[in-house]
Amino acid sequence: MSEISKPFFIWRHLNKARWLVLLTVFLMLIILPFIHVYQTFVASFSYDLLEPSEKSLYNIMEMLTTPFTNDPANGLENVKGTTWSGNFFGYQISDPLAVAGQVFSGLTFYWPFILTALIPVVATLLFGRFFCGWICPATFLYELNTTLSLWMHRFGFKAGTRKFDRRMKYIVLAVGLVLSAISGSVLISVIYPPAIIGRELYFGIALGGFGAGLVFFVITLLFDLLVARRGFCRYLCPGGALYSLLGRYRLFRIKRIIENCNDCAKCNAVCEFGLDPLHDDFGQECNNCAACIAICPTDAMTFVTSISDLEFQGAGHLGKSYKRSQDSGE
């Protein structure tokens, strides 16, 4: 047993890095509206007219931004927007779903905008549904929601465990795009949680009131809690559907090392998307979140570059059923 290949040690820690990225994105979505409010205060020279609470916001933001710029009104424009569409140091980056929705609602190809989705599309072709696991601000809340349901489980709460057909989300995507085309308005942005989170945080912080989107998002949270774990992402999210389609032949995917596997099934238990890593069934839904790599007690999960999953490799070599079959075979 000397030839057992260990996965590259970094992979085990990717899940922590992922939480850091999710937290950073979410905090950015909260900080950016505050920066905007601060910029408007600066632009109007209104410090003396501010309320005490606004003054303290001004002071805090001034302390935070002084190291970066001398001209806050114009110098803090490097990062603007949300994950739906944002401006990142002069580069516009948009969600592929925003582009798809706009093409359908306008029924034209406006190339300057379509090209803003180029980087996300290429990244999705390589990494699959990584947006869902690594960036999506709604995922951050949905995973905390899962944690909450596990925590409430100790107090007798039974979270929903219903299963539906995963292909339902492709229907949602198709219907959303067709409705966008019929109404001539990007309606798909109304049912897409990350777009909603970005907008509603801005509305709540900078414009002083949440909108209708928040109600929709709370309903999806309750759906996840009471009906199916991560149900919205798995069964209904139109963006998830688009990413799954684009990531069908992704280059980077997770593979089970059969020599190390002991059939403990922790990977299946921890998989937020209810996939079946134990039986090599990742499919186009896997978002490369690396939670299964992090939890695997025997280092049996690793990243590989391949455009397809392996067929079911059989029972893990450290497991009992494999040993039994070996013994009976010999």
Partner: protein, 198 residues
């Protein structure tokens, strides 16, 4: 509070919520087309704007005047989360930052020059109600003229500071914002309403 009153209040609350939401639902499907709102400067025509805008909210996030707000359901579901300006509350200062950042060019990218603004910005047109205007009633005022960023091009004054709106008016709304008369004697007629009227 005893149980009966408690139940009553809950039922009353539920009924009120249902009534409210049915009203909202109605509003969602019958757009109030004569609502007076302006799109940000350099926006496409109303229908094209709704199909081009992806509701990313960046225009509001760069507006230094914080005059850009976003529709909830009050103007129909097609306008949900699209940007608008209420000139009386806060008018556009024509800084053109929203057009710079708009990823879909639903708001055109324009320079902050008189040529670009006069050539491409069509938010609406100001209209003076002479029965309300102080200057037309013999009290010299002229506030709208002084508020206009395109004075003498978009608006001129005659004797007693009586304002006359010219064709070049782009409809930024600063005159309506500054009018000291209540209700305002000068108001912007938004572009989408002008187009409907023909």
């Amino acid at each position: 509070m005893d149980r009966r009153n408690f139940l009553k209040e809950i039922i009353a609350g539920a009924v009120a919520t249902a009534a409210l939401s049915s009203g909202q639902a109605e509003a969602a499907f019958t757009a109030q087309t004569n609502q007076r709102y302006l799109r940000p400067p350099g926006s496409l025509k109303e229908e094209e704007f709704e199909s081009r805008c992806i509701r990313c909210g960046q225009c509001g996030e760069v507006c230094p005047n914080r005059c850009i707000e976003y529709f909830n359901l009050e103007n129909g579901i097609d306008s949900l989360n699209t940007p608008y300006i209420t000139p009386r509350a806060k008018a556009c200062i024509l800084c053109m930052k929203c057009g710079d950042i708009c990823p879909t060019d639903a708001i055109k990218e324009l320079d902050r020059t008189a040529e670009d603004i006069l050539g491409y910005v069509q938010m609406g047109k100001a209209r003076v109600n002479e029965n309300l205007c102080l200057s037309y009633q013999g009290k010299t005022c002229g506030v709208c003229y002084r508020a206009c960023p395109l004075a003498d091009v978009a608006i001129k004054v005659q004797l007693l500071e009586q304002p006359i709106v010219l064709d070049a008016c782009v409809g930024c709304g600063l005159c309506e914002r500054s009018c000291i008369q209540i209700p305002q004697a000068i108001k912007i007629i938004p572009d989408h309403i002008l187009n409907k009227a023909g």
